[in-house]
Amino acid sequence: MVGLRAFLSAWADEEWLFGQLLVYRVGFYGPDLEENIALASLAQDELGHAGLLADLFLPDQKARERHFLGRPAEEFSACRLVQVDLAEDWAAFVLRNYLYEEAEAVRLDWFGRAASGMPDLVGLMRREEAEHLAHWRHWVRLLAGDGEGRRRLIAAAGGVAELVGDVFYLPEGGRPQAFDGAELRTAWAARVRAFFREVGLGPELDPLVGRLGRPPEAAGKHPDFFRVVETMQSVYRSEPEAVTWG
């Protein structure tokens, strides 16, 4: 399928970065020990997905390593939603993670229909992402039903809304023919709106949901992103002659 490589590359980048952002959170105490342990499983899954997706267009392990750890930040093709470290604000972290996983479900639905012949990969990712979505939905539900949690979720919504504009954006000439970003965003918005209603998060989050429904727009890299990539790559890049880092 023409343009599939760009789609897969963007998807791999996003899974890799999302895994990285979860990994940041693993380094903090808590919020409680049990949740931290659960988070670490989600992080490993996402890093694994990134590897599996990259394997489709970069079968060589060293090439994959260079791809994630050696490419300049500008060359990453990832939505803003996974460019920013939100680990210090649990409510914002939960909200972002929920939105990303809801989008992931939409993406997987599309991919499963559009690209037959990869049932194992799709099956694995569906399985794990379904668990991830259930986890973040559960946290949204928990926070929405708690006075303090609800207050913080709503407070976080404005900042997170700034990050959603380029989800499912792929440049002209770099997208599969059957890929319609606007359609996917409409589906995404519908799922999120329905879930927010279900957990009692209504009018306060309408502006956020409204943005989800708009067609995808190109966006430059978020200023925080360069720091995220620099951290991720600094050791790998520190010795170009190194054959291995272990």
Partner: protein, 117 residues
């Protein structure tokens, strides 16, 4: 007072799920609990009594737990975990490393008698 032949009577048909108690027994201190089975009883006190009569007439034992079935949160067996997931997570089992060490020529990979897989 309802008679046993009356249609729709509360005394006909099986009683509801509530009232089933799962029985777990630990025979020796250093052993884990074993799920012995279950009993049906009107309350916990009777369930406790029945558990001993039903399962422990001939055994010395250390401890018995009698748990209302509705209190148990079951995690269903998932074949996916044994198959695809198990293969995908080889990186976090000790056995992943031994072939790598051997291929690189590490002599005498130490055996760890606890937790080796």
């Amino acid at each position: 007072m309802p008679t046993s032949g009356t249609v729709g009577c509360a005394m006909s048909g099986p009683p509801p799920e509530a009232g089933i108690y799962e029985v777990f027994i630990r025979f020796r201190r250093e052993q884990p609990f074993q799920h012995a089975g279950s009993v049906r009883a009107a309350d916990a006190e009777l369930a406790r009594r029945y558990a001993q009569d039903v399962f422990l007439r001939r055994d010395r034992y250390l401890e018995v737990w009698v748990v209302p079935r509705e209190c148990i949160v079951k995690v269903e067996r998932d074949p996916w975990l044994d198959g695809v997931k198990f293969r995908q997570t080889e990186y976090r089992r000790p056995s992943y490393f031994t072939p790598r060490l051997r291929a690189r020529g590490f002599q005498k990979v130490p055996a760890l008698s606890v937790g080796e897989e």
